[in-house]
Amino acid sequence: MSIVTILFQLVNDERLHELQSLFTGDETARTMIVSPDILAAVSPPFPDNEEGRRLGELRAWLDGFMEGCELSVAEDPDRKPPDAMLARVHPVADEFWSIRVTEPEDTPGIRAFGAFGGKDMFIALTWERRELIGDQFNEAVSEVRANWRDYFRSERPFSGDHLDEYLTNFHAV
């Protein structure tokens, strides 16, 4: 069974959700599938406080992805620039990625973790405030790996030889 076939079932069962851009609805260039936890975090109304500001940033990142905006992508987890918007995480062979929300600048930002289900289709399963991840980054990756197994069993994330097999409209950093 392919990832997409499983996704159809998971979305139909509302175990995962296909996100809509807040401004363009489902008329999007890319597809973002999110877990119920992420959907709850990024659904308006955004709180009138610092937390709301950070979650608004995360939602804008996700909407930008869906709307086909330019992404800076780091393939080497050990050599990623601090401003990379999307980066692979160790172990690279497992094909998990970190969505890197580095704004607002006066905060440590947010990281969301997931994997590609195909070209221009990302499946985001977990998220956390960067300061709460601390130096437990590998544990955060283990969590997304476990979540993936819960949803997709033995099916592995999408894997390609080059970044342009994962994405359109990006530049490698």
Binding site: E27, A60, G64, P104, E105
Partner: protein, 127 residues
């Protein structure tokens, strides 16, 4: 694949305070669109960051930092970048895609309802 219903933003009304989170979302969205516009324009132009830096009289590091992510650019920075890349200037238009109703009602919008068209907030205007 069916699309899950999600809450939507709605237009500000009356004297209701807009939440910091909503403003944060909209700001981040517009930073991304400005970044997307400039990077696409740079790619289409075929010039390098080094050439762009020389045109702007800046160091390459400074230009590289500017283009490394969607940042809170000053309007002058956006203007300088676009003009230096391709002789373009930003063209502004107000986009109005949000429903003028509470989010709770908006969530019930059926997918079959006609979709509003959207335009990019800023597009380059060839000079």
């Amino acid at each position: 694949m069916s699309t899950s219903r999600t809450s939507t933003l709605s237009k500000p009304t009356g004297s209701d305070k807009i939440s910091v989170g909503t403003l944060g979302y909209v700001r981040a969205r517009n930073r991304q669109r400005a970044y997307d516009l400039v990077v696409r324009e740079l790619k289409n132009s075929g010039i390098t960051q080094a050439e762009l830096a020389r045109r702007l009289g800046k160091g390459q590091d400074a230009v590289s930092r500017l283009l490394s992510r969607p940042g809170n650019w000053e309007l002058d920075t956006l203007s300088d970048l676009l003009f230096a890349i391709s002789g373009s200037v930003p063209r502004f238009s107000a986009d109005d895609p949000l429903p003028a109703r509470p989010a709770s009602a908006a969530t019930l919008r059926a997918k079959s309802e006609p979709k509003k068209t959207t335009t990019r907030t800023v597009v380059p205007e060839k000079g």
